[in-house]
Amino acid sequence: MMNVFRWWWDILLAFSLLGLLGIFSPLPFAIEIIIFSIYTMGCSFLLGRVGFISFGQPAYLAVGAYATAFYLFYFGQNPYIGILIGLLSGVAVAALVGPFFVRLRSDYFALVNLALAVIMYYLMEKVLAGITHGDNGLWFLTNMSSTPVLDLTRPNQFFIFAFLVALAIWAFYKYLDDSVYGACCLATKINEDKLKFLGYSNFDIRYLAFIIANTTTALAGSLYAVYLGFVSPEITSPARCADPVVVTILGGVGTLYGPIVGAIAYTGMKDLISKFIANWELFIGLLLVFIMLAGEKGIWSTLEPILKKALFRRRILPGLQDGEGGNR
């Protein structure tokens, strides 16, 4: 009982703080943060656990968003089924391109994913313009029927749904981090030869991680679609390709709470800057260069030891503090 409690308590603490944020800050901002942190979680897992940097996450985001949009625009009305379809198409696409991609070296992987995102942009904007309505996007806000229990067409109930989804995803990733599979992922990042020697297949581990991460991203995409009620190719535009990677680094690579912290910081920053200055790209870019020059630990990795000390008031063994062990 105690162990179960201890396992859950930091997730619950983090999410109760997030829930408070949802109550006290404007609702669109809170929803944006929750979806963005789900989006980033996939990237953070790939980068921190498996050692793959992916500049193509918007491609998988678009897969989820467009699958949901197609269902809601052409076929059905139930947003829950739409989200489910987005999730399944995320699995399908990741399973399809995965075998090509995970064999590559980390640097090639980044470039190939970036190319995939740009191709997805062209696909949605030009090639499939007959179905996707090109730049105009698909509008289906009025197509969605209200659902029982949690009515996804209303923002405040959608917030609760997104919140619960995020909670489930965090619990899942925490479970994954503690499992043998999570350890294997870390091992394939650090020393793949040794892992092969132990009898594991690097390809299988990476393939599964690729599917898990990109399905998470696709789920975020379908949440975006249901929340906004419309999708356009802008969702996978090349200018936004680095967003998840940047937020991952900002929050701290491979940490469980990095994505949330990074999402809050990045979304807040963007909102604040774009409110005062029209030309936000220049400032975001310069700020990022500055962050890159200042350090590589990220916000959460810097805060974690301090928070732990303050919360537990006990000495943490130096080796377990943050480094390679502990509950990274």
Binding site: L47, R103, A110, A115, I119, A242, E281, L282, V289, M292
Partner: protein, 290 residues
């Protein structure tokens, strides 16, 4: 069977597009080979080259001065960026420099938007004349672009094979630490390579500007294709970059003759196919690990 005239003009179009891609990809390839950075900001120097050459044309009315000016400006900007940013982060992980370079690209695009505005502008073609090849009218300017790219290839080849600095760069691509051990200042090599890469990207931008419109996002438009060129050719290989640039150029132009949307999709399919057979690209070496 396809029309011969259409085919010839298609091939010339593909060659000229391939030349532009080659000029840009060579910078990325050299930077990766020597410094182990993926320099996404080459796309910024491409736009800088295009915009400066356009502005100089508006001021003086001469396109050739504009091109030289654009090239020089791109070189200067790349020198500044190398000094202030890269010199501090060469030692870090590759993912790290990649994000820094993307940040520079985004900031640069923002700056260009601030200075020149969002409206795409047409740049004039310096040579209006056309020649006839097998009864097909070909613009001389496109042929000139192809010739320039081959001259650059031979220039780079001579530089890397006949000069001490070039030989040091080639040795650095094999093993940086040994070169450093021989008493050569590798950071100077890095600076030289980076400026060379930036200047060539600027040249690509200046040459490409008359063929398309000049707009702030032009770097992002060619991004995918340049990456495909680098990936297909293999990171760090000049010969591979030349070969794959022309493959991609031909696939784009001939693909669009068959079915228009194919132009964007076909290079991607080719890339997947080549990566399936050889995960490091055509000429990429297996030894380069991270």
């Amino acid at each position: 069977m396809m029309d011969t005239q259409l085919l010839i003009s298609g091939i010339i179009f593909g060659l000229s597009i391939g030349s532009i891609f080659f000029l840009m990809a060579i910078g990325l390839s050299l930077c990766f080979g020597l410094m182990r950075i993926i320099s996404l900001d080459q796309l910024l120097y491409y736009s800088v080259g295009a915009f400066i050459s356009y502005s100089i044309f508006v001021a003086t009315g001469n396109t050739w001065i504009g091109m030289v000016g654009g090239m020089a400006a791109a070189g200067v900007v790349s020198f500044g960026v190398e000094r202030f940013v890269y010199l501090r982060i060469y030692e870090r992980d590759i993912t790290f420099t990649m994000i820094a370079s993307f940040a520079i690209l985004i900031a640069g695009v923002g700056a260009i938007k601030y200075i020149w505005g969002l409206v795409p502008r047409p740049a004039p073609i310096p040579l209006e004349t056309q020649v006839s090849i097998l009864g097909t009218a070909i613009p001389v300017y496109r042929l000139m672009v192809i010739v320039i790219s081959f001259l650059v290839y031979f220039g780079i080849w001579l530089f890397l094979n006949r000069t001490i600095t070039g030989k040091a760069i080639r040795a650095g691509i094999e093993d940086v630490e040994h070169v450093e051990g021989l008493g050569i200042n590798v950071y100077r090599l890095f600076t030289i390579t980076f400026i060379l890469a930036g200047t060539l990207s600027g040249l690509a931008g200046a040459l490409h500007a008359p063929l398309i419109m000049v707009d702030p996002h032009m770097g992002l438009h060619v991004l995918a294709f340049v990456f495909m060129v680098v990936i297909i050719g293999g990171l760090g290989s000049i010969k591979g970059t030349l070969a794959s640039a022309f493959i991609v150029g031909q696939v784009i132009s001939l693909g669009s003759l068959i079915y228009a949307p194919l132009a964007q999709m076909a290079p991607f399919a080719i890339m997947l196919l080549i990566l399936l057979i050889k995960p490091t690209g055509l000429y990429g070496s297996k030894l380069l690990k991270r």
